[in-house]
Structures are given as structure tokens and as C-alpha cells.
């Protein structure tokens, strides 16, 4: 029998960026918030010996324990879905801060185009630019409406950047801190892309260029360019993360309590309201019910969708009929890119997770697609994140992958190789979706989430086009050997790509085609908020967290309003 606890105002499921932001805003507004986090407590003191590629980057020390829970995966409906038994394509977070502890910090605002992609595509290219198999739709909110929330997230994060992107949406204020240092490697990219007629600018970074105190009074240190950022925690507290910003802000109000080792298994529902959540204390095995006025699902794309599915909230998407909204519009990204081999040695091992320069000329609808067989595009960057020796063994074409020749080539080229890479946007397709797996269960007996996903023609065409562009840039940069990335075929869950999973619990203007409204409030239960990249109706040519952060601030405002007035917020 589950023990029923005292009711609170708000419960968040998971305490990463989204859970942390909601906790901070609601606790500041006087609401009593409980954060249920299935991982453990952690902070900067845990990262003093973090420069360990093997433990953290190869064995995923900070990430989700898949022995307890994973997802199942198949490329298409006719294939048998099987568990993702070890981490690969994306790296799920776990513990205080979630994936916000071990992210890079490349922090973007999606383009104005992204939020109105359907209307703008139809208007410019006619209704048949993409086939009806692509479930393109507007987000039910415009960039201008979301701008104040972007601004708020950037100030919380202390973002370092320069306002030089001619294609970016309008900003109400400059970046809180100046851009990071422009290194010789970045300058090579800057010169080459300028020469090709593009407009390079410094990538907006949550690795701060200087020490900063945010509006909540939290301080973030200056980045040391240590090169151990992606997949690692920052030992300096220089990489903005929930556990050094929003979580302490929430805690110091006295209104926030985090419970660790608390694995939520169900959202409780009665009529058209949710009443709280059921969780298991993973250290004792005891079951608890935490009643709450408001439930906020902040457990990342996969678990937000799964919890709704196992709790029977909303209608599951059916790919046959294209009816139902829960689980639909799952999207990912493609990564067109080119490797260049140079003669001179470069300090590739120095760097930071968001140290980079970018061009946006080939992202969104910033270029004409009339004669192209795809829409959208991607941001093209040169990043200097600190290449690590186990994972970085660059070899020119036709070099064997092991043995004497491999050893010589991989060692020689380690300090002589650069990559121009793209975050390529991905459009929703009717055959790409999330559902519940009928066969496999997690450690608590709850079904695993099932992913049915493959790259589509749109992805392949976009990939091909942008790969050629990255190759041109690399040639202009003067590489001795230019090796363009291979064309993509089927999506593969094994190699790491990005942790930029989107969709499944999408937002929109109508319950007919979305799960939540533009306050991230569930259409079927007005005291339930579902927050994260799962809200994206499609994926863009950027990293997601800037937009996720903005949406979390929007949701927090919604929750506070709802607590005062109740009802639907739209």
C-alpha cells in the first residue's frame, strides 16, 4: 500500500533545467514545491576530479542508469522493437541538474520561422512543398510572444554572446556577458566563411566569458577553457547548470524540497484534474503518493510522454489514422559535416563546450528553398570543445581502422584535424512516433517507452545539401585533405549523435493537433503542465535548451496564474 503524503502546491517530476526553473519561479511566488528526482544529489564539489574521459565520457558516469530504465527502438513499424541496452545515440540525464549538468551550454533561441513554420512554408512555397506525410504545424505561439521568456532564461544563465547574427529574432536586451575568446581555430572558420559570403558570429555560450551574478543573486564563474565540458560537470561552476542557478534559488526561499531516489511511476487523475503522482523510493522500495494542486512533468522528452501514456492521459497517436496527439511528431536531428586534415598542429585539446563560431545563412528559411527538395536547414559551426584522446582518432580516407597504419595516422592527425559541423533540422513524419512497448518493462514493472524512428527523404536531402556546403567551407579553410561526411541512410541508435530529441507532447493552438497549450498546460487536465523539448512541434537547426528554458519560464508563469485563478489559461 502506498503511503499518502501531505498535499503540496506543485510537484515536479525530475529536477533538471525544466524542473529547476519551475521550482525557482513557483517557490519565489510563495508556492510550496516538491521536486521528485530519481537520481542523486550532486553539485560542483562532486566534479573536482572530473577530467576523466573514461569514467564520464565512455562509461557515462553522470547519466541515466539504463539497467533500471531505457527505451525500445525500431526503425519502422514492421520491425521488432528492441531495448536500447547501452547508451548511444543520445545521453539521458539523471540526478540533480539532469542533463543540464553535463551539457555543453550552446544556447540558442529558435528562429521566428520555427514557431510559424507551417504558415510561412505554405505562404512562400505553396501547400505542397512537403508531402502530406510530414505533419508540419505552427506552435501556437510566436517568437515575439516568447521573447521575454528567452530573455529571462538568458539572464538566469548569464549567457555569453555577441548580437551579430543577421538572421536571429529581435532581442530586447544584449547578451548578459561578452562572447568567449576567439581562438585561432575559430578565426580560420571566420575568415573562410566570410570569404564565401556568409556572416559568422560567436556561438551563444553558457560557459561564461566572465564571472557573473544573475538576477536571482546566483554567481557563475568564468570559464577556464579546460576542455572537459561535454559529458562532464564543471569543477569551477563556470558552466551554467540548474544546480548552481535555479535549484539554489528555489531552495533559499524555504518553499522547495527535493526528494532524491524518488522514481515517479504514475500521474494520478480524477475527472478532468490530476491529483498528484505516485513514486517509489528506490532505496527502500516503498511506494508514496504525493498529492499536489499542480503536477509539472519535467522528466525529459521520453519520460514525460511515457508517464502520460501509462497514466492514460490524452489520446495515443495512431500512425494508421494519424489520429491522437500523444507521442506524435517525434523528431531528432541530422548532422551534416566535413573533416579536414591539416599540416600544422593546433591546440585542439583546449576548449569549452560552447566555444565556437557559427553561420546561420543556411538555417531555417534564411535562404531560398524554391529549387530545393527540402525545407529548413541548419546552423553550421566550428566548435572547439576539447577533443579527447579515446574518442578522437581521426584517420584520412582509406586508412585501416586498426593496426600499425591506424596507430600512426590517428596519432599524427589528432592535433591536425578540424570539423565543420551542422545541427540539421528535422521535420515530423507520420511514421515517426512514440508509444508504449508491449513487451519490455522498467525495473518497477512499468512498460518502456517505444520509439519508432527513421530518417526521411527530407532529412536525407537536407543532409546532402548541407554536407556539400560544409565541404566548401573546409576547402576554403585550407585543409590538405577534405573528407565530407557520408550520406545518411537509416537512423542508428548506436553512435552518439545529439541529445536533441523532440516531440511527443507537442504544444499548439488546438487540442485537435497538440497535447498542451502555449502555457504547456495539458488540454485534458488544466492542473497538469508538461514541459521540455517534447513540446517542440518539429526540431530546428540548433541545440534545444534555450527554447526549452524559455518554455519552462512560460510554464512557470502559467502555473502561478493557474494557482491564483484556476481554469484554462488560453
Amino acid at each position: 500500500m502506498a503511503t499518502t503524503l501531505d498535499k503540496v502546491d506543485v510537484v515536479t517530476v525530475g529536477v533538471g533545467w525544466t524542473g529547476g526553473i519551475i521550482a525557482a519561479e513557483c517557490a519565489k511566488a510563495g508556492l510550496k514545491v516538491v521536486g521528485l528526482e530519481r537520481g542523486k544529489d550532486r553539485n560542483t564539489a562532486d566534479f573536482l576530479m572530473v577530467h576523466d574521459e573514461y569514467r564520464y565520457a565512455m562509461r557515462y558516469d553522470l547519466m541515466q542508469d539504463l539497467s533500471k530504465e531505457t527505451i525500445t527502438f525500431r526503425n519502422h513499424r514492421k520491425m521488432r522493437a528492441l531495448p536500447m541496452r547501452q547508451m548511444g545515440s543520445f545521453l539521458l540525464g539523471e540526478g540533480l541538474g539532469g542533463a543540464g549538468t553535463h551539457w555543453n551550454g550552446q544556447t540558442w533561441r529558435f528562429l521566428p520561422y520555427d514557431f510559424e513554420i507551417k504558415s510561412m512554408t505554405d505562404k512562400k512555397y505553396g501547400k505542397n512543398k512537403l508531402s502530406a506525410d510530414y505533419q508540419l504545424q505552427d506552435w501556437g505561439i510566436t517568437y515575439d510572444e516568447l521573447e521575454p521568456y528567452f530573455d529571462k532564461f538568458e539572464k538566469t544563465a548569464g549567457l555569453s554572446g555577441e548580437d551579430k547574427n543577421p538572421f536571429g529574432g529581435k532581442r530586447s536586451s544584449p547578451y548578459p556577458t561578452p562572447a568567449m575568446k576567439k581562438t585561432p581555430i575559430l578565426k580560420k572558420f571566420e575568415t573562410a566563411t566570410s570569404q564565401l559570403g556568409y556572416t559568422p558570429f560567436m556561438l551563444p555560450s553558457a560557459n561564461l566569458s566572465e564571472a557573473y551574478t544573475n538576477p536571482d543573486g546566483e554567481s557563475i564563474s568564468a570559464c577556464q577553457y579546460c576542455g572537459f565540458c561535454e559529458r562532464f560537470g564543471c569543477e569551477y561552476g563556470a558552466k551554467t547548470s540548474p544546480e548552481i542557478t535555479v535549484v539554489p534559488t528555489a531552495r533559499k526561499t524555504g518553499n522547495f524540497d527535493v526528494r532524491f531516489h524518488a522514481n515517479v511511476v504514475e500521474v494520478m487523475k480524477q475527472g478532468n484534474k490530476v491529483t498528484g503522482v505516485k513514486y517509489i523510493d528506490t532505496q527502500t522500495g516503498e511506494e508514496y503518493i504525493q498529492p499536489a494542486e499542480v503536477v509539472a512533468l519535467t522528466s525529459y522528452v521520453m519520460n514525460n510522454a511515457k508517464l502520460l501514456m501509462v497514466s492514460g492521459i490524452g489520446e495515443q497517436y495512431n500512425p494508421e489514422t494519424q489520429k491522437g496527439t500523444l507521442g506524435k511528431n517525434y523528431a531528432y536531428q541530422v548532422l551534416p559535416g566535413t573533416t579536414g586534415f591539416f599540416d600544422e598542429q593546433m591546440n585542439v585539446f583546449m576548449g569549452a563546450g560552447s566555444l565556437g563560431m557559427t553561420i546561420d545563412d543556411l538555417n531555417g528559411d534564411n535562404f531560398d528553398h524554391s529549387d530545393l527538395d527540402f525545407i529548413h536547414g541548419g546552423s553550421i559551426s566550428m566548435t572547439q570543445t576539447g577533443t579527447r584522446p579515446i574518442q578522437t582518432n581521426p584517420i584520412p580516407p582509406d586508412t585501416p581502422t586498426w593496426g600499425a597504419e591506424f596507430k600512426k595516422a590517428s596519432i599524427y592527425n589528432y592535433t591536425r584535424t578540424l570539423n565543420v559541423s551542422t545541427e540539421g533540422a528535422s521535420m515530423p513524419h507520420k511514421e515517426n512516433f512514440m508509444s508504449l512497448d508491449p513487451d519490455y518493462k522498467d525495473a518497477y514493472g512499468v512498460p518502456l517507452l517505444q520509439l519508432t524512428y527513421n530518417f526521411t527523404d527530407q532529412d536525407r536531402n537536407l543532409h546532402k545539401y548541407l554536407t556539400a556546403k560544409t565541404s566548401d567551407i573546409m576547402k576554403e579553410m585550407g585543409a590538405k585533405t577534405v573528407m565530407a561526411g557520408s550520406p545518411i541512410t537509416n537512423y542508428d541508435i548506436v553512435p552518439y549523435q545529439t541529445t536533441h530529441n523532440t516531440g511527443g507532447t507537442i504544444m499548439g493552438a488546438s487540442p485537435d493537433n497538440s497535447v498542451v497549450n502555449n502555457y504547456l498546460q495539458h488540454w485534458n487536465a488544466d492542473n497538469l503542465f508538461v514541459v521540455g523539448a517534447g513540446n517542440f512541434a518539429h526540431n530546428s537547426g540548433y541545440n534545444p535548451t534555450g527554447t526549452v528554458g524559455a518554455l519552462a519560464y512560460r510554464a512557470a508563469e502559467g502555473i502561478i496564474n493557474y494557482s491564483k485563478n484556476g481554469g484554462s489559461l488560453v
Binding site: L48, M49, H51, D52, E53, Y54, M58, R59, Y60, D65, L66, S67, E69, T70, F73, N75, M79, R80, L82, P83, M84, R85, Q86, G88, K181, K182, T183, P184, C223, Q224, Y225, C226, G227, E344, Q345, M346, N347, F349, M350, G351, R388, P389, I390, N393, T401, W402, G403, A404, F406, K407, K408, I411, Y414, T415, D439, Y440, N490, Y491, D492, I493
Partner: protein
């Protein structure tokens, strides 16, 4: 196996000591040889002796087998990883870097027993895009792999794997890579990928894991290991060389 001009290769050792190859097989001596290149340097893995902070290299070798119980299997591992990452004029190969011990030690822990992996059934072979689908743990896969490599050596060349010429070893490793060898519960191609990956991990991981002895792999690659900051050099146009540092220098 490449011949190190300063030290002795396994083959040289066999010649100069005059010990018949067969007499070694299954005995402890080849096991001793695996560590031979390491010890000639007067260095011991796991103590981070060269970091400039930790003082004199420790005199005690605490290295030993934690997973393999059969020296013949361990010796197959040692020779196979050396073929993948051989000693050459740049510096030591996998054996000199302690990779066989690294792998052995990892197999004895979380890595070898797939502690963080989803290992519930049912198991099906799956498509290549679906990744790891074996009911076997990495420890079980490695052990089977060593046995199968030795069996292949006997089938193809009527010799033990460790007694083969380098090219013959390569032929067998390539057969695994191309999925031409039968294994139970796992494909030989998958086993090869694990073996190659573990070799690189052992070569380039921090020496606290008993590989990358003396940080020599980092030195070859000019990766500086665990440096606290590059803020002073990040804008330097020139390539900057560092004496590498291990994490062990931080535990003081």
C-alpha cells in the same frame, strides 16, 4: 609484433632465452612477458609516477589479474590488442601501455558485468541499427572471444594464437571483424568492435585505470591529460606542448 630496438620483443625474448615456445603455453611465463615492456621502463601503472606532483615512482607493482583466471586466455588478449595498437617508432603498443591489464581489470568490474546496461529479456538478434542485443555480459563475450581466437588459430594454422606470426594473427582478427567466425550469443563482428574499442580505451584512459602506462599514449598523441586550465594559452597561435598530468596527481 614490432621489435623495439631498446627493449626486447616477445619473439626476441623467446630466442635469447632459448625456451621452446610450446613450453610456455599455458604457463605463467608468457604472462610475465606481457608485463615485460612495462617493467623495463621502471614504471608501474596506476601510480601516476610521472605527474611531477606525486613524487618518485612507486617501487611496488600492484598490478594483477582480476578477471581472467587462465593465463592462456589472457595472453591471447595481450597479443590481439598489440596487433590492434602495435609498438612502433612512436612508442609503446598496447602491451607496453598495460592495455591487457586495463581490460582485465575493467572486465572484473561494472563494465564487465554490464551494471549500467539494460539486461532484461527477451533477447533477439535485432538489426544493426538496434545495437547491443546479447544476453551475454561483456565479461562473458571477452572470455568466449579469447577461446574462439585460439580455436581459430588451431583450425587455420595448427598453432596457438600466441605462437602465430603477426600477419596470421591479423588474418584471424580480420575474420572476426568481417563476421566470419561463429560465436554463441553474439556476433564476432560485435566482439571485434568491443575489443578494438577497449584497446583504445586502455591506451588513452587516465593511468589510474592501469592502462596508458607512464602516460606514454598521451605523450605520443601530445594530449596533456588533466590540466586545470588553458585560459592563458587558448588564444596562442602556436601549438603548446605540455608534460601530461594524471588525475592521480590530484588526490593529495
Amino acid at each position: 609484433m614490432a621489435v623495439d630496438k631498446k627493449g626486447l620483443s616477445r619473439r626476441d625474448f623467446l630466442k635469447t632465452t632459448g625456451i621452446a615456445t610450446g613450453a610456455l603455453v599455458g604457463g605463467g611465463l608468457i604472462g610475465g612477458l606481457v608485463g615485460y615492456n612495462v617493467q623495463k621502463e621502471g614504471q608501474v601503472a596506476g601510480t601516476g609516477g610521472h605527474n611531477g606532483v606525486g613524487g618518485e615512482p612507486a617501487a611496488v607493482n600492484n598490478r594483477g589479474l582480476m578477471f581472467f583466471t587462465n593465463m592462456a586466455e589472457f595472453n591471447v588478449l595481450a597479443q590481439a590488442v598489440e596487433r590492434i595498437f602495435p609498438e612502433d617508432d612512436l612508442g609503446p603498443g598496447a602491451i607496453g601501455l598495460g592495455v591487457p591489464y586495463f581490460i582485465d581489470n575493467q572486465l572484473a568490474g561494472n563494465y564487465g558485468s554490464n551494471v549500467k546496461e539494460y539486461m532484461q529479456g527477451p533477447f533477439f538478434a535485432g538489426e544493426s541499427t538496434q545495437g547491443y542485443q546479447s544476453r551475454l555480459t561483456r565479461g562473458e563475450i571477452f572470455r568466449q572471444g579469447m577461446v574462439r581466437m585460439d580455436e581459430e588459430a588451431k583450425i587455420r594454422f595448427e598453432k596457438n594464437f600466441v605462437d602465430l606470426e603477426g600477419q596470421q594473427m591479423d588474418e584471424i582478427i580480420t575474420a572476426f571483424q568481417k563476421n566470419e567466425v561463429d560465436m554463441k550469443g553474439v556476433s564476432s563482428e560485435f566482439f571485434f568492435k568491443l575489443l578494438r574499442q577497449a584497446t583504445l580505451e586502455g591506451a588513452y584512459a587516465d593511468p589510474i585505470y592501469n592502462g596508458n602506462v607512464n602516460m606514454d599514449a598521451w605523450r605520443m598523441k601530445e594530449f596533456p591529460g588533466n590540466q586545470m586550465t588553458y585560459i592563458a594559452e587558448i588564444e596562442n597561435e602556436k601549438f603548446v606542448k605540455y608534460e601530461p598530468k594524471s588525475l592521480s596527481s590530484m588526490e593529495h
